[in-house]
Every structure is written in structure tokens, then in C-alpha cells.
Symmetry: D2
Subunit: 351 residues, 4 copies
């Protein structure tokens, strides 16, 4: 198959770099353009970027010349790592200009006709694209992926919802510093310390799951009827967001039943067609001290959820811990998987 | 006032060392004897111990000769930092032998006639001592202090209970490595990592508050009628246990009312007599990113609770964060304060 | 004795805050004024500052109103924590205006008629003040303290020089992050990592000791005839700079002789008059694994050198490790001690 | 080519696990047997081991049954990760029994007729094997690889020796915690701290380079005539030993000449045949803040030296920093490369 040319908007930042890395040898996509800030336009990517992702910078990307973020790039698909405010302004122009905008930005995540997508969870939410196009008169469209903190526990929550009905969840997240980019979090905050605060994160954790776990019926989104409460913490870990969750179920379930449901869960059939979806998206770890960020974040090439410590909760019903790699599954990797889904569903055309 | 001679049982370990440090210039107590393991008996404390507490070893303690842990030491009060199993065997002998055993060990914490004490919370629980003595035929007695993880959020929970009625709480703790002693936690577990497991800690967090918040009526203990659920995590922090708590109240309360209750709380009158009780045992921090372990653990000389981030919880009623210094307030400092209370109440005689 | 009113120039930064802290209960000096940047002028210090020093902000300082850094403050002594470029411009104006400028900035450290001072090393270098005043026509004067990295091993080097003659030294420093202020070093550089680079630090380490170990004869400075070579590294430690040193001596000496010289060294007599000079400025630690930053930086209230691991060097003559607290002895504490020396020598008048 | 069956002696420890990992897909060797301590004999490797190496345990290895460390295993080659004392006793039995013993243990590193090997440095040292066999009457033989700390700077030192003559070197190493195995270094030693001591390491750093840089003439080893002085430090880094080196050269050389020599160096021709030798074993980094452990340790799949900061030294001649991955190049990876060399040289027979 001939590859689909793609561009990355805001390719020089932390998430942009992960896009560059994960697209380097992608079987379906070929990175042919990158955009960046005023300061970097016209420079070679390899010169302009302060590469902070583990591993070397892909050579082909290094030779790309950084373009302005304008809707005149000759590709059908753009991955957006734009800051929220810029995404707000620019993503609609790209959609209007006929691009498939696969965004990791927060700007349009909660917009009613923009899918907030995770292929293993809600691949049918791409139905919203039709009404999005119609109401805006766009030839292109926008799809988004959730915040990295939301991602950390969302798949086990989905499985609880499907099997037992999910009524409420209390989440405490322990989040890695890579989520804040570079320079990001000062070392003085993370040495012999942690910080019980990440701006805007608690509310994302309390809202985004309602959309991800919601239903699209007759082309319209219905948020899940859930109560959520969250506390996000920054901890001295490089990569990997860990969530401690207590969930209230509609149908009571013993911990063993929950473990069985987690282990018995199979991804939607379409996921088998997506090169970036791991064979086993959810891995249950029976050890009492897992998952741990450094030891488990690379599971499924950074695309799997590891879940452990399922046990009863005397206040709600069930407790568990869940972990994902925040810059892979929780950001660039998740968005690329969304683009793969769009290709598989025919919403992005193969050349 | 002439000082009361005291001994420390198991003075060479991490908690034992904190006892040594905190007793060094105590206005009421004078450390005159230390006990240790077989291996160290007969050596000078200064020689035998691998001093891991910040600051220098008190000189007087360094010159004490380590004794066996036997009930023939010429002091009226022993502070016990014994390992649980040894505490189980030996603390009753000391109580029988007429000693006031002020223990930091877990062995007798949940025994029905042994007070689990925090002077700011439940100074009246020392009433249990009478029945303890009677039923065992002891001339001495045992009092205990709670696990360091339990301590971290217990005072704000007490204030919620007193003001609004407390029905349930979900707690996630982020606990410092000093709680595990030396060598304790391997660096390989704490570099770019954290561990969602501390042996036995979840269940202590789910049981001990019921006793601390319980009532002693007619000399008998009634556990508080509470549902609790906890997840303890080990994080790369030296000192200071931070707890994220969601609480279900009997009487609904807005966050502002809770803040007011926390700020308006005053310790029981007897605390004013105790040299180790800080002027302000609970400090409310209005900043959105506090409390933080390194920045707040020394509040009130390590004896104060710092509390922050009070806000509504969409699942239960109220969320907050609370922090205490785990080896001071949560261990040796807490136990010494208990001994001060016993002196103030006349249960330990002044010389 | 009535206290001498003093001001801090640039009191809001990391070093400025340490000045504030260390002057809080100073027996000779009283902090009556603070200056700050444009942005903070007119605000209360307590409001304007992001307090990063361990321990609470002194209350009196919190109530001071921040002034512009101009030579019209009504105090005889100013402590300068100005950035280098600003120090370059402003310190001379203060000196001209009659102030004793006690600076921690690097701007004038190597100026031939400005003393680079450590009271335990070279209290006689204040002789340079007379020629400094004469040649500039100043009624005031400037004295400086060395870079925190230079400080770490300078006292043991001085003792080697005095006892055996010092010809050369190779130094590798492991430096704490507090030296870079806040936000300073990114956590992404210090987690599972270290950085073999601190801008400008190698050359300071290779130049400043020549002045500190030099001689003032007939009012003129003669640099020590030394060869120096240095590599400064940033490591994930909060406070405390550790230096690994190999030294070439004029008169060969066995390690035991060096240890004896270190232990036998006594500070100049005038140090006994200075409240900030520790009783024992150099502490030799015989254990093979000391000094360590966290365990030894507080020695002598952060004002002592701890030295260890003296042994033969097969390439030069003698190896050793030395440690000081970089923001206390190596910055604010060192500068305040310089001011004490100036008082004791009559160069700052007592009121 | 049919693969050569190999065994790992002491396969359960930290180095043993790296052997298991690096042999998993080796093109020439096939892991068919593992040995372990008394406690683990008879168990499946997957059950018995506490896997601490990043990445999953190779499945085939997991199914091997752990054997006792006895010279009756049916393989021609054994990799030894034995503790020093056990290596001392057992490696000769294996050599006598006809095995090629490729050891990472320190026991026989300095024995005059045992090669201490790094293929890029001294592939001809395998000449010693003939005399080793003759003098001991062995049909097998022992070769060893150096300590991980020695490895860190040895290739640049070799290049200096070859180009300019090397007379002396002063080395300060900053060593990762993985070198100490699990549980290894306590977190209490590595949080806001470092330890200027690793048992036995300074002397290994001062001896082993003399052999590695020595010459084998007429079947006899001549140590290099070098003066060395070393200080090893443990720092809070997971993997990667960084060395700061000052070197005295026979022929003076400017930093640019040294950089040219480093960049112009090519490995011995035989290295091109070895699958584990990276295309570019030495990578010179021009940035002033490199190499850094986390950012550079994976260079060349963990088998390359990264070198930077070449500059003049005012005391000796040249300074530089060098880094290697301590458990790959500095341990298991280095030993496997030695075995590859022995195959290429015909000292281990291909099947």
C-alpha cells in the first residue's frame, strides 16, 4: 500500500516530538511536513528542535523544513499538537480546508459534534463526523483524543460500565513529569517532594470520561450518566500515569468477577486491523505491588493499559489501579491510533 | 521540675532513633536507658547505631550502654519502638511490671482496653487504662499511637466528624520512604518509579480511624460507625505522608463551611499543657498546590497537620489533602506527646 | 549592643531569601530594608516573594516594603544578591555612596582591589579596602564572597597550602540544584540523570582559589601560584556541593600527615569573635563513605566544611572529598560572616 | 549457521538477567541452560527470578529449569555472572572441563595468563589463552571482561595512548545504582544524596586499565606503564556510568587534536565481524552538556562509548567526560561480545 502523507502541527514541542518518533516507521503514514512557531519557521527540524524524547531523532524528520501552521500543506491528514488556544483558532480552518484533523489538543474535546476517540472504547463515535461536517459546512473534520490523565483508567472503567453498569468513580492520579514538556516541572518541586496540583487536570478527569463512555445514537452524543471526582498529583516519575480508582457499580460485583471481566474483555473487531493497537490492550497484573510506572509503562509498546490491585471498596464497590504511558497511549500514540481507525473506517482515504 | 527518667525499647532502629532525638532536650523526660537487639547489647549506643536521622546524634544518648529488653530497667516509663512480634510478647511484661508502656508498635493498637491515642483527638480514651489494669491485674499499662499512615488525615477527619458527622472516607496515601527504616526501600524501586503497595498498610488505614474516632463510654470503647477504603503508595519522598481524602458527611456541607470548621477548630484544653503539642496543630493552606511533603512536613516542628485543597466531591461530599511528618507526628513525636498527656492527666507520676 | 541596620539588594531570589532567613535573628544585624525588581517594587516582601527556602519566612521581613535598588536606603551595610550584570552597574554606586557593600555576586570578585573573603582563610585581605577606596575615591567599599563551588574545597586546600605547599589541584564537583534558583534546573534533567555542565562554573573554580589563597602584601594582592583544573557537574541533590580533589604538594606528605594537619588546624583568632563562624569550621570524617550531601551539609549550622577520604594519589599526591552547604556557607551565610569580620575589624562601625 | 548452545552461571542475579535478555535473540548463541543458587535449583527460571531488567523476560528462558553450577552442562560455552568468591572456586573447574568460560566476575581478571578483554581495544590478548591452557593443563579456558567502572572511559584512554602516549590519568566516576543489583542501594542513600564510596571500585579503576592497555608479546602480558588515581561515586541514576578524566600525555596535544583522534579512530578490523559491536563504538558529542546518563546510555544499543567535553587541563594535559551503559557494555553485553570475538578468532568452534 502506498503511504498516506501526513503533517504534524507544532512538531517541536514534547508531544510533537513523540508524533515524529512514532510516525518514523509507520506502515500507513508518511511524515512529509512539520509546522512550528514563528521562531523556528524555515529552519530544518533537526536544527530547530531540542530533542527530549528517549532515543535518537528520526533522520528523515530532521531534514524537514519547518513550515508555518497554515492550511496550505499538501497532505490529507494533520496531527495537531497545538497549544489549546492555537488549536482553538486553527483546527477549524484545517477542517474547513478539507483536512482530517487528528488532534491531541484539548480545545474541541468536549464539542458535541467532535468525536473524543479511543478505538478500543468507542470507535462508533466517528459517526459524529457527518453532523460535524454538515453543521459547519466542512469538507474536512476534527477528531480528538483525551487528556493523558483521563486515558490512564478509562479502559477498565469502560469494562466495568459494560459488565456491571458504572455509576460513579473517585480517581487519584500520580502523573509523570513528561506531561508538562520541557523545561516543564522544576527539579526543586520534584526532589524529595511531589505536588498535589496540575492546572486544569482535575476537571478534565471529571468531564472527559463522560463523553468517552457516552453513546452516539442517531448521530447525536449522549454523555454517560456518571458522577466523577478527581485529584491529580505530579510525582517524580519520567513517564507513566498511575490512577487509583474506586468505582460505584450498578450491579454489585465481587473482585473476582471484575478480574474475570477485565481478563475476558476483547477489543472491538476493527482494532485487529489497526497496526498500533496492541494484541492485548489490557493486561491484568496479579502481583500486589503492580502496576508500577517504570516497570509497566512500556507494556504493548506503550499502548497497553496495565491494571492491578482489584479489590473490594467498603465505601463504593470496587478499587483498582491502572497505568498507561502518558506520552504514547495518552498522547501521540493514541492520536495516531485514531487516524488508523479513520483509515480503517474509510473516513481517511487510502491513496 | 525534676525530670522523669525514661527508657526506649529498641532504640537503634529508625523510630528508636527519632525517640532518642526528640527526647534529647525534653523538658519533662530524661532518657536514661536504651535497649537493643542481642547483637548490640553491652555496646555504647553511639558505637552500635547506624544513625540515619537528620542532625547529629545527641551526645548523652551516645554514651548510654545498650541493655537487653527486659523489665528490670529503673525507670517508670518505657517508649516502645519494638517490632510488632516482639512488642506482642514483651509489652505486657513491662505493663505487668508496673511500667507505663508508651508504644509506637502495632501489636496492641486495636486491643479493646488499650487506648489508641492522639491527645488532640481523644485524650479521654485514657479512661480505658483502668479497665485494662483491672482485667489484666497489671500495676502498669500500655497506651499506643496509630500507624503513621493513619495519622496523616485523622485530625481533619475528626473535625468533619464533630461538625458534620462522618459516614465514610476513601483515602489514597503517598508515603515517604523513611517509614520503612534502613536499608528499607531499594533505590531501584524509587528512581523514576513508585510502588502502589505497603504491606499491611491499607488495612491499618481502614481500621485504626474507627478506634481513634470512636467513643469511650462507661470505660468501654465503641468504634466509630464508619466505612473506610484505602490505598497506600510508596513514593520517592524522604519524610512526610500525604493523604488524598474524599469524605461522606452526615450533614451536607459546602467547602467553605468545611474550611471554616478546620480553621475554627481548637485543640482540647489539656493540649495547652503539653510541651510537644504545637500552638496550632492544624494549619489550613489556601494555595491550590499545597500541602507538599518537603515544604510542609516541618510545620509545628513536625507535629502539625497541614491541610489544603478542600473542595466538593461529586461522588461523596468533600475532598481534601492532608499531610503529617511520618516519623515525628506519625511515630516517635506522637508517642512522646501521649506520654506528656499521661503526665498531665496524672497517669504517670511526676517525681 | 544596638544592632546595625542592613539592607538586602535583590532579596526575592534564591540567595536573597537565604539572606533574609539567616539575618532573621542575627545578633549584630537588623534587616530593615529589601530591594527587588521593577515588578515587585512597592509590594510587601511577604506578598511578592515565592518563598523556596526550607522553613517559614521570617515575619518581620514579610512586612517590609520592597524598594528599588538605589543608593538612598538608610542603612550603612547592604548585602548584594544582585545578578552579575546588575551588580556590575550598581555595586559601585553604593560604594561611592558610602555603603559597605557585602556582595555575593560574581561581578567584582576578581577585581584586584576588591577582597574575595572567607574569614577563616584570609581575613587580612580586607587590607585591600584602603587602596580600593583611595583609587576610586569611595567613602564606602565592596567586599565579595566566592562562588559556591569554589567554597566547597577551599579550606582543606588552604590547609594543604599552609602545611605542605600547594602546587596544583584537579577538582570535580557534584553540585546541588538549589544553586540554580527557582525554577532553575528542569526535573527532566535531574530524574535518572545528571548534567556535566554548569555555565561559567569550571572557570570560576579554576580562578577564584588563586585569589583566596593569594597574599596581600603592602596593600597589593598577589595571586597564589597554582595550577587548577575543574569539572563542575549538576546532580539531583537539593543542597550541598561535594568536591573530589587531587592535589599536588610542594612537600610530599603521607595521608596520615594530611589528616593530622586538617584535624590540627585552628581558625584565625578573630573568628572566635564572629557569631557565624562555627566552633569547628572543619570536621574530618573518618568513615569511608563520607561526606555525603544530605547527611553532612548541616554541619556547623551549614557553615562547616566536612572532609573525608584523604588518601594517596598515584598521579598527584593527595586525594580527598570536601563538602559545604552551597546556599549557606557557599552564599548568604558566607557573605554575612564577611560582614561580621568587617565589624570585628572596625571597617563597619558599631552603632 | 547453527547456533552455539550456551549456559549462564548464576543467571538469576542482576547481571545474569542481562545475559538472559541480551542472549534472547542472539544470532550466534542459543541459551539452553541456566544455573542458580541452592534455593532456586529445580525451579523454572521464570518462577524463581525476581526480574528487574527493563522489558519483559524472554519466554524461552522462563521455561528453563535452573541447574546447579556444576561442570556437567552440555554446552561448549558458559557465561559467568558468579559472585567473585564462587567464581574463584568454580571457573577453573569449568575451564578444566573443556568449557570456554566467558566471565564477568572479578576473580581472574588480573591473573597473568587470563585475558581481560574488550574486542575494540585488545583483541590480540586472547593469545594468552594458549599459555593459560598449557600451564594449567586445561582443555577449556577463561576470559574475563573488566569492571563496569573501568569500562566507562577505557576506549578514549586507549585512543589517547595510541595517538599521544598515555602516562597518567585521574578519574572520578559517577556510577548508576543498577551496578549494585537488587535490592542493592537503599533509597535512603540516593534521595537528595549521593555516596562517595563503592567498595573495591577505586582499586579496580586503578589496576584494570593497566592490563587492558597493556601488551601481549610472545604470549606474555606486559602491563601498561601508567599512573592512575580514581574516586568512584554512587549517584541516583538507574543505568550509565559517567567518568570525568584528566590525562597526562607523553606527546602534548591540543584539544582539537584529541577530538580529531577520537573521531578518526576505527575499531580493529575483526570487530566488523562481531554482531554485538556497534558500527560506531565511540561517538563524540560536541554539546557542552553531554554525555548525560539517561540521554546517552542507549547509544549503539548500549554498546557505544559517548565522549564529550574534551578540553585542556592546566594540571595534566587533557580533560574529557566518557559514558557507557554499565550493565550492557560494562557487563553482560561486553562479555557476550568477548564470546563473539572468540568465535571469530576460532577459539570457540562453530557447530
Amino acid at each position: 500500500m502506498k503511504k498516506i502523507p501526513v503533517a504534524i502541527l507544532a512538531a517541536t514541542g514534547a508531544v510533537g516530538q513523540r508524533f515524529v518518533q512514532l510516525l518514523a516507521d509507520h506502515p500507513w503514514f508518511e511524515l512529509t511536513a512539520v509546522t512550528g512557531s514563528e521562531r523556528t519557521i524555515g529552519q530544518k527540524y533537526g536544527q530547530a528542535v531540542n530533542w527530549i524524547v528517549p532515543g535518537p531523532m528520526p533522520e528523515k524528520a530532521a531534514n524537514l523544513t519547518i513550515l508555518p501552521t497554515e492550511a496550505n500543506i499538501d497532505v490529507p491528514v494533520v496531527f495537531s499538537a497545538l497549544p489549546s488556544k492555537e488549536a482553538w483558532e486553527k483546527e477549524p480552518y484545517f477542517a474547513q480546508g478539507g483536512y482530517a484533523v487528528v488532534s491531541n489538543a484539548s480545545a474541541y474535546r468536549m464539542a458535541t459534534d467532535v468525536p473524543l476517540l479511543i478505538p478500543e472504547l468507542n470507535p462508533d463515535h466517528t459517526e459524529l463526523i457527518a453532523s460535524q461536517r454538515a453543521s459547519n459546512g466542512w469538507s474536512g473534520f476534527i477528531v480528538t483524543s483525551p487528556n493523558c490523565s483521563t486515558t490512564s483508567a478509562i479502559l477498565p472503567l469502560k469494562i466495568l460500565q459494560d459488565n456491571f453498569g458504572l455509576e460513579a468513580a473517585i480517581m487519584v492520579t500520580l502523573q509523570a513529569i513528561s506531561g508538562a514538556g520541557y523545561p516543564g516541572v522544576p527539579a526543586l518541586d520534584m526532589l524529595d517532594n511531589l505536588v498535589p496540583y496540575i492546572e486544569g487536570e482535575d476537571s478534565k478527569l471529571e468531564i472527559e470520561p463522560k463523553k468517552l463512555l457516552g453513546e452516539v445514537r442517531h448521530g447525536r452524543l449522549h454523555l454517560a450518566d456518571l458522577r466523577l471526582s478527581a485529584q491529580a498529583n505530579r510525582v517524580p516519575v519520567l513517564d507513566g500515569h498511575l490512577a487509583s480508582v474506586s468505582a460505584l457499580l450498578h450491579d454489585k460485583a465481587a473482585p473476582e468477577q471484575v478480574v474475570e471481566a477485565l481478563q475476558g474483555w476483547r477489543p472491538p473487531a476493527i482494532c485487529a486491523e489497526l497496526p498500533g493497537s496492541p494484541a492485548q490492550p489490557l493486561i491484568y497484573l496479579p502481583e500486589p505491588d503492580r502496576p508500577q510506572p517504570r516497570r509497566d509503562r512500556e507494556a504493548g509498546n506503550g499502548m497497553a493499559w496495565t491494571v492491578g490491585k482489584v479489590r473490594g471498596c467498603d465505601v463504593l464497590d470496587i478499587r483498582f489501579m491502572a497505568l498507561t504511558h502518558n506520552t504514547v497511549r495518552g498522547a501521540a500514540g493514541g492520536a495516531i491510533l485514531n487516524a488508523e481507525l479513520l483509515v480503517a473506517q474509510g473516513l481517511i482515504e487510502r491513496p
